[in-house]
């Protein structure tokens, strides 16, 4: 068996050498670093050693109740491409989708990382955990997913919950949630958890979260729901290129009608963009090729909590509980002014409490621009 186990990753030193510096230069750099950090010269050896041997970020990626769309989305990332992430940025030591080893050898690979990089590895979780019937609805290697998650999370530095399954239970948690599919944050306590919802999340967003951790050496800023602010702080509706049609009250009435061919707003055929926080309108999918609305189908809110139980897909959002503009939706757009008014009302009602301030500002801006239009 040709199985190198020696750890001698000269990441920084290697980077120095690659850029044409000598080891002497490197030691000089370490000395300066040490001085900068206020270290005694006796501690310098440690700095040198740390810099010489800093490993790629170890990652364990678990798979529970899922469909593997998250792993598939991750390998779709265009920037960076996944080959580079895997070879240069992280050490993906366990993932049932891609790893060479199976069975005992796979389990051993996970154990090795958990021991060797105790407190240092990132735990990624794809899928929800069924807690009904003592967890027997998901078993790997003879253990339940509950047991595996508990063990793997104990010494993780942080946890990334990939996709809606891990963040909110997704489709298997839809009523009646027969297996008690449970999201990760309800089971893992005392660890930072980054939630990256979506079914799946956009590939570049997933790679972006990983790259953030590797490049900046810290976790990304999260919103109150634990999602990276960079990708989940704007509504699809607010970043949608069809938004002007919404504001003007121009809607697709049924699929493939004349309005669909003109690319009008999909709100009346069920678009949930007004209540969905995701990067689809900006980052788009598969290296910016398209996103659901651009391809003629409404957003159905796959990154939102419990979206499978939030009304039918083709039912217009006005029928949501608490969204009482049903009677007026059809009259939207009779005049530009009325349209703006209703649109603003819609925004206000649909707004989640956590975004109230942001929306308030948007409303203000909206009113100002309305004034401008009038004058």
């Amino acid at each position: 068996m040709d199985k190198p186990t020696v750890q001698k990753i000269p990441t920084y030193l290697e980077e120095f050498k690659r850029k044409g510096y000598s080891r002497k230069d490197f030691l000089k750099f370490c000395t300066l670093m040490g001085a900068y950090l206020g270290l005694e010269s006796t501690a310098l050896g440690q700095v040198v050693k740390a810099m010489e041997t800093k490993p790629r970020l170890p990652v364990i990626w678990l798979h529970f109740q899922e469909c593997t769309c998250c792993s598939e989305s991750f390998i779709r990332s265009s920037h960076p491409i996944v080959a580079d992430v895997l070879l240069d940025q992280i050490s993906l030591d366990y993932t049932e989708t891609l790893m060479a080893a199976s069975g005992h050898q796979a389990e051993e690979a996970m154990r090795n990382t958990m021991t060797k990089y105790k407190g240092e590895y990132i735990l990624c979780v794809e899928g929800s955990v069924p807690t009904a019937a003592d967890g027997v609805y998901c078993m790997i290697g003879g253990k339940t997913s509950m047991q595996i998650l508990e063990e793997a999370a104990a010494d993780a530095k942080a946890v990334i919950a990939w996709g809606s399954c891990a963040c909110n239970g997704c489709v298997q948690a839809a009523k009646p949630n027969p297996t008690s599919a449970t999201p990760i944050h309800k089971l893992v306590k005392g660890k930072p958890i980054i939630k990256v919802p979506g079914c799946p999340p956009i590939g570049e967003v997933m790679a972006g979260v990983i790259v953030h951790v590797v490049t900046f050496g810290r976790l990304p800023d999260l919103d109150a729901l634990g999602r990276p602010k960079a990708f989940y702080s704007k509504r699809v509706h607010d970043t949608c290129y069809r938004r002007p049609y919404y504001d003007a009250g121009l809607y697709v009435e049924s699929f493939d009608d004349e309005n669909a061919k003109k690319g009008y707003c999909l709100y009346k055929v069920g678009c949930k963009g007004p209540s969905t926080y995701n990067a689809c309108g900006v980052t788009k999918w598969n290296n910016g090729v398209s996103f659901p609305i651009q391809s003629g189908h409404g957003c159905f809110g796959c990154s939102e909590e419990n979206y499978w139980d939030n009304g039918r897909i083709y039912e217009r959002a006005s029928a949501f509980p608490g969204f009482g503009i049903e009677s007026t939706a059809d009259t939207v757009g009779k005049t530009a002014l009325a349209a703006t008014g209703v649109a603003l009302a819609a925004h206000a009602i649909m707004t989640n409490v956590r975004k109230k301030k942001l929306i308030k500002n948007l409303e203000k801006e909206g009113k100002e621009s309305e004034q401008e239009l009038k004058s």
């Binding site: 040709d2 469909c67 199976s102 051993e108 489709v171 949630n177 027969p178």
Partner: protein, 572 residues
């Protein structure tokens, strides 16, 4: 005395699969295949809007993404008597072709190759010889000595770091690896290239379906309106994009995938006599060219072959009560009565009776899987690429005969070599060639239609539920990359009363039936030689040759809806 070995998790698949095998005298005496995760999606579908079903069942699988959604819209359209416009059929076919191209290449390089290619041994290759070899089998441009040498340096550095990542703990150096170092290096190079390529191929689905994985479908057609004069519709730019992607995809299959497949296969001809298994095959057929209901128009023909007898192909009827049935004799479910049930009459509830976790072994004398056991007229059949290729071949289709005969000649193996692990892996490549050609045919037809002024993409009248009958039954079927897939729906009062799926991996990976008749995985694993029971790479070769997809395979239905109460008692 036999020794029981366990492979769990089986990695490089979709989902959670466990294999237990009894080894005796260096061979597998008997094997047991178990699905160990369940989500009960069918229960969740009850009472929901049939128009929404595609989105829910699309989430059955994100690897063979889109195929469940396609099957679902066909199923609902079948129930409601909706005929979709020709353009929608073409777009669905093009999307499905893109899925095949993507999925088969990813399977070969990322899920299967490491069973045959020794990654660490690739570091010993001579880049110059590697280049000569690569150029002798293909005119793919990335094949210079410098290219292979740079790659080798990069991987050497990676291995020397001691952090092997996804390559950790592989069976490197195992005597079952037979490739020269140069072929290993080509395999490794194309592993990385294919990883980059695959993200391009899926863009076909993104253009029509808005995203991938999980593109959007629509009962009645497709949502992507054709509008040659608007930025939002399918215009010249969008269509040209699709055309380019299909051409590039076909090029990769012809110049990288197939040459690699043939080169690797030529060193593993002994696997043309291992892992054959059942010898009975079934395909529902797919890629309609004259509407879903005209099965004779399918590019993949439909049919069943029993006991390797390719002189006789039988038809399949998914609506008939006594053809497709599911049994639970070794599955963690309960029936009120006994015997098998047609999916429209399904009745069962989940009941886990396996050992309490954590456990070392399943008790395989008892029920041992969350997969049910489907049978066709009582027969265990294999589904998937090999079944499709054999049915096409046996039906006398010239396009199938051409690719199959050429491969057999090139490898200098007899036709019986098809009934094997190697045959299964080769069939996947061969049909990729066909599908990549069909993709372009469908594309040309779409352009032609638009040119003639037909821009219809969806039939909306029957999307209005006030036009629906009180009750309706439907069947949707397709050929998923992994094999024959069908959904059955029962619509009552505008809602889903029952929805059931019988999927490829259920056919292949299911436990044995009451008669002790094994399904495809268990049959194929029998008699497989195992050089080292601690490193059973041979098991992975055969199991991976089926391309397992377990999330698809595990499901539950219950017409009576009774088990909900049961679950809530068990639940928290």
């Amino acid at each position: 005395m036999s020794t029981r070995i366990v492979v769990d998790p089986v990695t490089r698949i979709e989902g959670h699969l466990r294999i237990e095998a009894d080894i005796e005298n260096g061979k597998i005496k008997d094997a047991y295949s178990s699905g160990t995760m369940v989500r009960l999606l069918e229960e969740i579908l009850k009472g929901r809007d049939p128009l929404d079903a595609w989105a829910y069942v699309g989430r059955v699988c994100g690897v063979c993404t889109s195929i469940h959604s396609l099957t679902s819209v066909r199923c609902v359209e079948d129930a409601l008597g909706i005929v979709i416009p020709p353009n929608a059929e073409l777009v669905r076919n093009i999307m499905n072709a893109a899925l095949y191209m993507h999925d088969h290449v990813v399977h070969f390089y990322h899920l299967h190759a490491m069973d045959w290619v020794d990654v660490v041994n690739a570091l010993k290759a001579d880049p110059k010889k590697t280049s000569e070899l690569a150029q002798s089998i293909s005119h793919w441009p990335k094949s210079s000595p410098g290219y292979f040498s740079d790659l080798q340096k990069r991987i050497t550095k990676f291995v020397e770091s001691g952090q092997l990542g996804i390559f950790s703990n592989g069976y490197w150096g195992h005597p079952a690896y037979k490739l020269p170092a140069e072929v290993n290096l080509i395999g490794l190079a194309h592993y990385l290239e294919a990883l980059e390529w695959q993200k391009e191929m899926v863009k076909v689905q993104t253009i029509f379906g808005g995203k991938n994985p999980h593109p959007n479908y629509l009962v009645g057609g497709m949502a992507c309106a054709i509008s040659t004069d608007d930025i939002s519709g399918l215009n010249a730019e969008r269509l040209a994009y699709v055309g380019q992607l299909l051409k590039d995809g076909k090029e990769f299959i012809e110049q990288v995938y197939i040459p690699d497949l043939m080169a690797i296969a030529s060193f593993y001809k002994d696997w043309g006599a291992i892992g054959g298994g059942l010898g009975s095959y079934m395909a529902y057929g797919d890629f309609p060219t004259n509407g879903y209901r005209d099965v004779a128009s399918y590019k993949f023909p439909q049919g069943v072959i029993l006991n390797k007898d390719i002189s006789k192909v039988m038809d399949v009827d998914m609506r008939k009560d006594d053809e497709i049935q599911e049994f639970i004799d070794n599955s963690w479910y309960e029936y009120k009565g006994s015997g098998g049930l047609h999916p429209w009459k399904g009745e069962s509830k989940i009941k886990y009776t396996g050992p309490k976790p954590p456990f070392e072994n399943l008790d395989t004398t008892q029920k041992y899987s969350y997969l049910k056991t489907p049978r066709w007229k009582g027969n265990a059949v294999e589904v998937g690429p090999l079944a499709r290729v054999l049915v096409g071949y046996a039906r006398g289709r010239e396009d199938f005969k051409a690719v199959v005969d050429k491969a057999l000649t090139d490898l200098n193996v007899p036709v019986t070599a098809l009934f094997s692990t190697l045959g299964r892996t080769a069939a996947r490549g061969l049909e990729s060639v066909l599908v990549s050609q069909w993709g372009l045919e469908f594309y040309d037809q779409l352009i032609d239609n638009i040119k003639k002024g037909d821009t219809r993409m969806a039939e909306s009248k029957m999307r209005d539920s006030s036009n629906w009958p009180d009750k309706a039954l439907g069947v949707g079927h397709a050929e998923a990359p992994r094999g024959a897939l069908a959904h059955w729906i029962n619509i009552e009062d505008e809602k889903i009363a029952n929805y059931q799926l019988v999927v490829p991996t259920t056919w292949n990976a299911s436990p044995r039936d009451a008669k002790g008749q094994v399904s495809a995985y268990e049959a194929a694993l029998r008699d497989t030689p195992i050089a080292d029971p601690k490193q059973p790479v041979e098991i992975l070769r055969t199991v991976h040759s089926f391309d397992p997809c377990l999330a698809c395979a595990v499901h539950l239905y219950d017409e009576e809806g009774k088990h909900i109460n049961r679950i809530s008692v068990l639940g928290d």
